[in-house]
Symmetry: C2
């Protein structure tokens, strides 16, 4: 069953090379796959349901593939390279009301890389898991704000350069935040 | 003419207290104002054109109102308080494909507060206007990523607390970035 979902989704990705997402109909996809519209509706409610499935599948793959990394930059560059490879569906989804799918994907994947580094840097410090999670979430959102601007500008800038610039701005900041959490006990956290 | 635009927009804001944006029609608004649909179309192409006008007007007002501030936090809290006051239209627009209007508004207003502080802190340092602008843009996007998360969570958290947390994370970072720009000459910038 999941295989059929994959076939429909691959067909959509193929069609996105020459058409916009909002121009593609269920009939188009069913025809290309040589099945009826009913067959399509057996698997998905509509095209956006399929797009959501695609992003969820890709999130799972990216999270499973993530192994120990030394720097979050490596993971970040990988994430942007994946986005460039899937530029058609990313851009089309991002410009639709389903934009959230792109953001949730980006945030979940980048968070995994960052929390790993934050936890590594927290060794020997008396900080809680919640504080580590707060730091990782803050920097995930901040960095992905830059990623989304890069997407809006059609992903022209090389991923390595984007990562280099972000690193220039935030280098040492995870540790700084961890040390602050250790020193100060802010009631708001 | 602009007065008539204001009347239509105020009517929309009033209606948003009891209805969702996508449930409101041009006919509804024209009727409430006691004019014809044609009169509405003389001023706006459709309801989203009116929403865009609202955000542009509010941006202009916010930028004109901004006077010298000592800390960006003051401006940031003010921005969030404005958002809470206009929660209906913010939430409705944010959940639509016109979400960009909310983001552009937030970014333009916050940038004004931050660039002011960055430029103040750059006094005596040999950094370029472009470097100051880069720092201000980076932190505007980063902070507004947190603001947008706050909006998505229905603006429950008090603005002062949000600002306090953000400050906890980035305190001293504008200066740190300025000093880095002065020391290192990165070819990518």
């Amino acid at each position: 069953m999941s295989n059929m979902k994959q076939i429909f989704t691959n067909t959509l990705l193929e069609m996105l090379k020459s058409k916009e997402l909002n121009e593609i109909t269920v009939t188009d996809i069913a025809q290309k796959c040589g099945v009826s519209r009913q067959a399509f509706y057996y698997y998905f409610d509509d095209i956006y349901d399929m797009v959501e499935w695609f992003f969820m599948e890709e999130t799972d793959k990216a999270l499973m593939a993530y192994t120990d990394i030394d720097t979050w930059q490596m993971g970040y560059i990988h994430l942007m390279e994946w986005a460039k490879k899937n530029q058609n569906i990313i851009m089309n989804t991002y410009q639709s009301v389903q934009r959230e799918y792109v953001e949730v994907f980006m945030n979940r994947v980048l968070y995994q890389y960052i929390i790993q580094v934050v936890e590594h840097e927290s060794k020997g410090l008396t900080v809680t898991d919640e504080q580590c999670a707060y730091i990782a979430n803050f920097y995930t959102l901040a960095i992905n704000a830059i990623t989304l601007e890069w997407i809006r500008k059609n992903m022209h800038e090389p991923p390595v350069e984007v990562a280099e610039k972000v690193n220039f701005m935030i280098e040492g900041d995870f540790k700084k935040a961890l040390l602050k959490f250790q020193q100060i006990n802010l009631s708001i956290f």
